[in-house]
């Protein structure tokens, strides 16, 4: 049950988290691409101006645009030097390609021939002072820069960057953050395991232990605090069952005691007494005995001086434990100190389980200048009244409840 729930929770959580992560990344990287495209368009414009400057110099020297030597090497080198640039082309006034570098002709020519590119090219060629503009066609951002010689339009330099390349760069860079994503996944798995343990596993295990305890006939143990979940509801009903059974047993005992007192026949009275005695034996003794109530402590609870649950002894809070233990201890030590023949060592002997030998041992220790356990106990008590940080009396935390395994 717990395993399946945990697995289902893990799968649903991973699915949702991954879907959200990919959704956010997809949309955010789209925005990032747009933001970066503007920066890259600026670079494409700069590249176009630089090439245009060189080409215009050649044109001013009287070299025809179609016959400028070394153009392919120049454009190809410029395109290769900048990985963001997809192609650099030189076209005539009608946008017919003359020279190019970068992507092949088959992809380049249809791009140059598209209506938006031609429209933008003609717009920027209308005057030498027109600012450069980019137009997006089939994933390319194309910037045409008009060539002018002495105010006469002679052709275009066209530079393009591609959004797809930005995407590839973004994905490549995102892959570098895979360790962070893995760390998050580990945290997520830990969270799910913690939630399933806290919400299902621990309450269910406590309830099972309580049921097993009842089944074995041990003293009634009621659970005092429950969450509002279905398991908490079942635990409350468990308490109700114990309460009802105990109530029935108490009523029966009272009824039997009254009947025993009321009858005059000693044989009948003895029979009733036997019945009453049966109630005091296992497994009914658990019903008539003093019940215990314990809160279902959560892992986050601050537990003062928690003692692990052992053998049915109720763990007492640290403050109460110390108060109870050391009150008696200190009183005994004081009593024994008042006896002139014992002193501190005598107190130790009186307190130590085992009597004479311990008494002798501590008397010897006292003679050797050792303060003995009674002094230790008194010192410890004094320390506990003003506990320093990290002392034995300082609050401690412990994961798990009193029935935690």
């Amino acid at each position: 049950m717990v395993f399946r729930t945990r697995l289902a929770l893990l799968l649903v959580s991973l699915t949702l988290a991954l879907a959200t992560a990919f959704g956010v990344l997809w949309l955010a990287l789209g925005e990032v691409e747009q933001g970066l495209l503007e920066a890259l368009e600026g670079k494409a414009a700069a590249q176009a101006r630089i090439v245009r400057d060189d080409v215009e110099l050649a044109l001013e020297l009287g070299i025809p645009l179609a016959e400028i030597p070394g153009t392919y090497e120049y454009l190809e080198g410029s395109a290769e030097a900048d990985p963001d640039v997809r192609f650099i082309a030189i076209a005539d006034e009608e946008m017919h390609r003359l020279h190019y570098g970068g992507i092949g002709r088959r992809r380049l020519d249809p791009l140059l021939d598209t209506e938006p590119v031609r429209a933008v090219a003609m717009a920027v060629a209308s005057h030498p002072d027109q600012p450069l503009r980019a137009v997006q066609v089939e994933g390319f951002s194309i910037t045409p820069a008009p060539l002018f010689v002495n105010g006469e339009h002679r052709g275009f330099v066209i530079v393009a960057v591609q959004g797809k390349q930005i995407q590839e760069a973004l994905i490549e860079r995102s892959l570098g953050l895979v360790p962070a994503a893995l760390a998050f996944l580990l945290l997520l798995i830990e969270l799910i395991l913690w939630v399933s343990a806290s919400a299902v596993e621990e309450p269910w295990r406590r309830l099972r232990r309580l049921m097993a305890r009842f089944e074995r006939g041990q003293r009634l143990l009621w659970s005092e605090r429950h969450d509002r979940s279905e398991i908490g509801h079942a635990t409350r009903l468990f308490n109700g069952i114990l309460y009802r059974l105990r109530d029935r047993a108490e009523r029966l005992t009272l009824r039997a005691t009254e009947a025993e007192r009321a009858v005059f026949d000693p044989v009948v009275a003895r029979s009733i007494r036997e019945r009453i005695d049966e109630l005091g034996q296992l497994p009914l003794a658990a019903l008539t005995g003093r019940p215990e109530r314990r809160p279902d402590l959560r892992p986050s609870d601050l537990q003062l001086g928690h003692r692990p649950f052992r053998g049915g002894r109720r763990p007492r809070p640290r403050a109460a434990l110390l108060a109870g233990r050391y009150r008696g201890l200190a009183a005994a030590a004081d009593r024994l100190r008042r006896r002139p023949r014992f002193g501190a060592a005598g107190a130790a002997g009186g307190l130590a389980p085992g009597g004479g030998r311990a008494h002798a041992r501590h008397r010897a220790a006292s003679r050797a200048g050792h303060p003995g356990p009674a002094r230790h106990a008194a010192d410890r008590l004094r320390r506990c009244r003003a506990p320093p940080v990290g002392s034995i009396c300082a609050p401690t935390t412990r994961a798990g409840g009193w029935l935690a395994g």
Partner: protein, 264 residues
């Protein structure tokens, strides 16, 4: 929605919000690096271009501080600068001889530019400072390889702020929308998925309720619900049997005492 479903929704929602925040941070980190790289690449291009003009002039026998040469180099790059970007040409004495920011012409260049400019002639990027996000330098050499000057392009940190702010606004909205949709999906999953633990806990609660109601009524043994898996089912069956046994024993005791009382 309550009980286990609420706790499951909280866990799903927490994971989902964490994933959304992490994805946003990843996108932001990637954008920031790529934006800086795009600006740096453009500045490098301009520095190389200015240096190329200066090298050509020096090769033609011109001095670096020749106004025509400086104007030719600066005129080429000036049109490509965006607001805030500065390109300067420094001579061999460390003095700014040309700059897109006229106020700094004639000033002494900071020492860190000159140190970086002593390299082997390649473009160098200096580490960012509080005011300048990027500083790109490239030395200019004389015909005989001696240092003749330096071209420096600088990008103030403030230039990168507007695109950063615009992106933050956009991806915050995107993240909020996607997270809201994800939370709806998480709520639907928590509400409508048949969680086995919840069914088992409900069945257990029903068994406990039956046991509770049956005390004192001589009810028959309550079997463990079918929804419970074998191990919890066995524990519940044993508990139900123990409750029924105690109840029967109490009933028998009560009957016996009644009989004795009446007999007396």
């Amino acid at each position: 929605m309550g009980g286990l479903r609420l706790q499951f929704f909280a866990a799903l929602g927490l994971g989902l919000v964490g994933a959304a925040v992490l994805s946003t941070l990843v996108a932001w980190h990637v954008f920031d690096r790529e934006l800086e790289r795009a600006f740096e690449a453009r500045l490098r291009l301009l520095v190389v271009e200015a240096t190329r003009v200066l090298d050509a002039g020096i090769a033609a026998g011109l001095e670096l501080d020749r106004p025509q040469l400086l104007e030719r180099a600066m005129g080429l790059v000036r049109v490509n600068l965006t607001a805030g970007e500065v390109i300067a040409i420094v001579d061999a004495d460390g003095r700014v001889v040309a700059s897109s920011n006229p106020a700094e012409i004639g000033e002494d260049a900071p020492a860190r530019w000159l140190v970086a400019g002593d390299g082997a002639g390649a473009v160098a990027a200096l580490p960012p400072t509080t005011d300048e996000q990027l500083v790109i330098t490239r030395p200019v050499q004389s015909l005989f390889g001696a240092p003749a000057g330096l071209v420096v392009a600088r990008l103030p940190a403030a230039v990168l702020e507007p695109p950063r702010r615009a992106l933050i606004a956009k991806i915050s909205l995107t993240t909020a929308l996607v997270t809201a949709l994800g939370l709806l999906a998480a709520a639907a999953a928590a509400i409508f998925l048949p969680w086995r633990a919840q069914r088992a806990a409900r069945a257990l609660g029903a068994t406990m309720a039956t046991l509770y109601e049956g005390i004192g009524k001589d009810a028959a043994d309550t079997p463990a619900p079918a929804e419970l898996p074998p191990a919890p089912g066995d524990a519940t069956s044993r508990f139900a049997a123990a409750v029924a046994a105690r109840d029967r024993t109490l009933a028998q005791g009560a009957a016996a005492i009644d009989a004795l009382d009446e007999a007396a």
